[in-house]
Symmetry: C2
Subunit: 126 residues, 2 copies
C-alpha cells in the first residue's frame, strides 16, 4: 500500500515555532485570568456592584474563605478588582471591579455566545 501525500505545513513560513507559541501567550494570559473554579462567579458577583468579603462568600455556595481570599488577591494583582478598607467596626472591606476589570465583559460575552451554541450542539447530538 502506498503512502499518502502529506501536507508539510506547520506554521506559516514567516513564523518560527517559537513565534507561534509567542502568539499564544496573550491568549493563555487571558485564559488564566478567567480559569479557576471560582473566578467567573466572583467576577460576576462583582459586576452587580461592590461587595464585602462575607457577602461574596454567602452568594457563592461552597466557596471557602481561603479560596475567596486567594482569588480576590489575583484579581487585585491583575488590577481587575480593587479593595477598599473602611475603619468601621467590625471592619468593612469592599471589593469592586475596576474600570479595567469591566473590559472583561465583552470577552466573557464572546465566551458566552460560543459556549451557548456549543451547548446546544452537544446536547442536541445526544
Amino acid at each position: 500500500m502506498e503512502m499518502i501525500e502529506h501536507d508539510k505545513r506547520k506554521c506559516p513560513s514567516h513564523l518560527s515555532g517559537d513565534e507561534c507559541t509567542a502568539r499564544l501567550l496573550p491568549v493563555k494570559d487571558a485564559l488564566d485570568i478567567l480559569s479557576g473554579k471560582w473566578k467567573l462567579q466572583i467576577i460576576l458577583s462583582l459586576t452587580f456592584g461592590k461587595k464585602r468579603f462575607k457577602q461574596i462568600q454567602r452568594e457563592i455556595p461552597g466557596l471557602t474563605p481561603k479560596m475567596l481570599s486567594k482569588e480576590l488577591k489575583e484579581l487585585e494583582i491583575n488590577e481587575l478588582a480593587s479593595r477598599h478598607v473602611y475603619d468601621t467596626s467590625p471592619v468593612t472591606v469592599e471589593y469592586e471591579l475596576t474600570p479595567y476589570g469591566k473590559t472583561l465583559r465583552p470577552l466573557i460575552g464572546e465566551l458566552h455566545k460560543w459556549g451557548t451554541k456549543h451547548r446546544k450542539r452537544i446536547i442536541a447530538r445526544k
Copy 2:
C-alpha cells in the same frame, strides 16, 4: 464608628442565584474547551492544515503521546477536530479541524486581543 451603607444587589432581581450560575455554564464550557496545557497549541497546529499524530507531537516540544491522545479525543468528542484513518503501512492517522472547530478562531482572536492589552498593562507597570 458607624456602619457604611451597603449595596445589597447580588444578581439583578429577575435572576435567582441559580440562574446566575446557569448563565455562567456556557462560559465555563467555552473555557474548558480551550484550557489545559496543550489544547491551544494543538488547535493552532491544526489550523495550518491536517496533521498526523507524530507530526503534531514533533511540532510541540514536550508533548507526550498520552497527553496528545487525550486532548485529541476531547477535541473529537466536541466535534472540533476529526480523525481519519488510512489503511497504509505504517498506518496513517490524520487529524483535522472541522468547520465547526474553525468557529473558535474569532473567539481565540478576542482572547488574544484582550490578552495582548493585558500583557502590555502588566509589564508596563513593573
